[in-house]
Structures are given as structure tokens and as C-alpha cells.
Symmetry: C2
Subunit: 263 residues, 2 copies
């Protein structure tokens, strides 16, 4: 019997299901996604209530805009359970979640894996192999699931998590979009784009709902990250304007050292 | 007999030699690089003079800092030739080159290919397959060489080339470095780095001499590119501060459209 429920089978939820087809049962509000999942051998629940009643651990894998309503539905369904259910999510920002149902044990989670694609079709088994998966606190059942998916569980307070992802995920998304918006739309210019431009704008191909969701749900930290970057860009521009080429070299050299040591 | 000379066998020059080992003869001021090249079956000249005397087409594949001195040496050697020699280069900025020797026919060139690695060891056959190779004007012998390397020759005035590469190559290098310099050096933060951060900072692993060289040799255009990007970042920050989430979404949506259509 599957004891892990996955609610929402887009890229992340679908990849959990495809990675552990024998342990997982899923539900999604989109009937056609459910049919595709079922055709690929994944068990499907008959309703959100059925899903919540069937499993011990539930992963809510819906985007920011849907989370509050879905979580309210989960709490209502959990109230009819005899024993508690462990619930986690996969949002890229850990904001406070109001738990009103004693039967719900909630822990925020965030798998640091993904691609610029979305939807069940883009989901794949093994997506989480070797990836870091952040939890706001230890929770045995969720950590066991993370281990089964081949990911590395890390616990971190929500605040530090949000600051970190603003720097290493949300800012790159903003910069990818900003570079495209700042480039004159000219075939000759885009025609020269090689790997540096392709790589540095890759994540701009992500669905705008998802990117806007992460940034607006982590507003203060993203604003700080943008501000810090603007400061460094200002230093680059000043060094170039003053023709201080040694300083330009030194900045690139420091950056290379940081990358070589940390990535 | 080889009729193409390659002066400097780092990543670019070495890749030309490895791609066309039967047509190319090389020279490099570093004796040990020459020995490695010879051991891999590439013909080597005995001196810069020997190289210039042997071939009809010469690719100067040295970095910015070395170019002027090397080009002076090439002009002096070419003065002793009976017939003209075609000379091109592979710098990422097309700045004016003063040709004083009538025997030298110079055309600036820039292959839009490369990696964050450097040196003959990183060079590889086939590096230019499918890549765009910009020339400032048509030149039959150089275009023939480009075609043999599997690259797509494109002619473009130096000014438009420099503006374009500032946007699609030099700015990504500045942003990669700036992101690393703006990130607090904290193991927990870097520990979360997934593909978006790795990709958007990949080119910061380039040797600082090369990156600083491209940026300081294209100073005005890079400053304009930084300024344009700063303007867009300011728009992102303002929309976030005003909680205008529709505008944030619209910016990501426009960027995605530009990328999907142009890359």
C-alpha cells in the first residue's frame, strides 16, 4: 500500500511519483494530468479527501498561488482522520503556514532541483538524486522520503533559507530576465549569442507564474539581493570609468577564486 | 604543405590546430606548449619569422595584452616576404589595428565559441563546429578557413560587433562575477546552489586576464550594457517595492517570450 501522497503532479510532484511509483499515490485537480499519470502506472486517488485518508505523509506540490486554498482543503480532510498526517510542501520560499488542525503536522520543505520546464511530461524519475532538500526542521517521515528519493536532507531555519535562495536562485532568475529585457531586440545581436548568454539566461525560459511566484513571495530578501548586486555592478562601472584596469582585474580574480572554492 | 599559420596555441589557437592538423603549422612563445603540440602530431615552426614565411594565412590567437607586440613582430617578418600574407585575429573586441606593412592584409575576426577553460590542454578539435565566426569584412582566404572549421562566417562592422558582444558576452561575464562577489561567503548559502546559480556563474571560472581583457578593451560598450541592465533591475526593484505583482509577472513573461523567440 502506498503511504506517501503527492498532491499536484507538475515537475516536482510528478518527479516524486515517477521516482517512487510503488510508494506513492497522487491527486491533481487537472483530470487529464491524472489520466496520463495513471497510464504510466502511477496510482491515483479518487479525490483530495481520498488521498488525505489513504496516506501517512503528504507532499503538497502545488505552486504558490494555489497553496493556501489546497492546504485549507487538506486541513478539512485531515480533521476526519483518526490519526495525524505529516504534511510538507515544496515551495521555494518558506513563509509562515497557519496550521489550525491538530491532526496536521506540517513541516516546510524545498528540494533544490528543477529545470526550466514544467508539468508532468517534464517530470522524471531520479530528478532529486544527489540534490539538496531543505527542511525547516527535522521530521523523521519526511526525511525518510527524501532519503528514498536519493536527495540530501538539510535542516535550516526558514529565515536563513529564504535569504540563501534569494541569492543563489531568485536573483539568477531576475538577472536572466533582466538581461533579455535589456538587450535590443535585433536579430544580429541575438544571432551572436553563444554559450555564455544561453547559460546566463536559461532559467528565463521558466513559466512566468513560477518565477514571479518565488520572487514576490520572497520580496524583502530578493530586494536585498538585487541591492547587493547593484552595488557590485556600480563598483565595476566605476572602475571602468576611472580606467582602473587593475581593479577590474582584481574583481574578476576574486570572483573566480570564490567560484573555484565554493562551487 | 600547411598554408595556415596559428600564432598562439591556447584554447582558440590550439583548437584550430587540433581541428585541421594537416593544414596548420603553429608557433607559440611558450616552448613547453610547442612540445606538447608537436607530440600530438601538429607541425611547429622554428620561429615567428619561420611561421610568417611559411604560410599564406596567419591567425594571431594571442590575448589582448600580447596582441600589439606580436602584431609588430608579424609586420616586421612580413616585410621580408615576397608576396602579401593575410592576417586575422580572434579577439573578442574589434578595435582599430594599425597596419603599416603593405605586405600585410589584416581582417579582424572573432569566433563565438569557447569555454571557461584555457590553454592547449583545453583545446579540442571541433570546437568551432556550428559556431558563428564574425569578420569585420569579407576576406576569401579567412572565410575558407572558417568554413573548413565548420563555423558559420558572418560579416559585421566592428562597431556593431562590439556593441553586440558587450550585451551577449561581456555583460554575462560581469554578471557572473558580480553575483559571486555579492553573495555572502557562507557555506550554508553556497551549499544550496543548484543549477541556476551554477549556470549563471559558470563563466566566472574564466581566467581573470581574459575576462578583464575583454571588458577593458570594450569599455564604452560594456558601460552602456551595465547601465541598461541597471535600469531594468531598478524597474524590478520598484515593482517589488510597490507590491505591483502584475508588473513583476509581466516582466518575467516578456523576458520569456524574448528568449523563446530568439534563442
Amino acid at each position: 500500500m502506498p503511504n506517501v501522497g503527492v498532491l499536484g503532479i507538475g515537475l516536482i510532484g510528478g518527479s516524486i511519483a515517477k521516482s517512487l511509483p510503488n510508494s506513492v499515490i497522487v491527486w491533481d485537480s487537472q483530470e487529464n494530468a491524472m489520466q496520463v499519470a495513471q497510464a504510466s502506472g502511477i496510482k491515483i486517488a479518487t479525490s483530495l479527501d481520498d488521498l488525505v485518508n489513504t496516506v501517512d505523509v503528504l507532499v503538497i506540490a502545488v505552486p504558490f498561488a494555489a497553496f493556501d486554498a489546497v492546504f485549507a482543503g487538506v486541513q478539512a480532510a485531515a480533521a476526519r482522520r483518526e490519526k495525524p498526517i505529516v504534511v510538507t510542501n515544496v515551495l521555494s520560499v518558506m513563509n509562515p503556514v497557519e496550521v489550525t488542525e491538530p491532526n496536521v503536522l506540517f513541516v516546510a520543505g524545498h528540494p533544490m532541483a528543477g529545470t526550466e520546464n514544467s508539468g508532468f511530461a517534464a517530470a522524471k524519475a531520479g530528478l532529486f538524486e544527489g540534490a539538496t532538500w531543505v527542511l525547516e526542521k527535522h521530521q523523521a517521515e519526511v526525511e525518510s522520503l527524501i532519503a528514498k528519493l536519493g536527495a540530501k536532507g538539510v535542516t535550516m531555519p526558514a529565515g536563513l533559507h529564504n535569504e540563501s535562495v534569494a541569492r543563489i536562485s531568485h536573483l539568477p532568475h531576475v538577472l536572466a530576465a533582466a538581461q533579455l529585457l535589456a538587450t535590443p531586440e535585433d536579430d544580429e545581436i541575438f544571432g551572436l549569442a553563444a554559450s555564455s548568454f544561453r547559460d546566463s539566461t536559461r532559467v528565463a525560459a521558466t513559466k512566468a507564474e513560477l518565477t514571479a511566484g518565488m520572487v514576490t513571495n520572497n520580496r524583502e530578501q530578493v530586494l536585498r539581493a538585487i541591492e547587493a548586486l547593484q552595488g557590485v555592478l556600480e563598483e565595476f562601472a566605476e572602475a571602468l570609468e576611472k580606467r582602473d584596469d587593475q581593479e577590474v582585474f582584481d574583481m574578476f580574480e576574486r570572483a573566480k577564486l570564490i567560484r573555484d572554492e565554493n562551487l
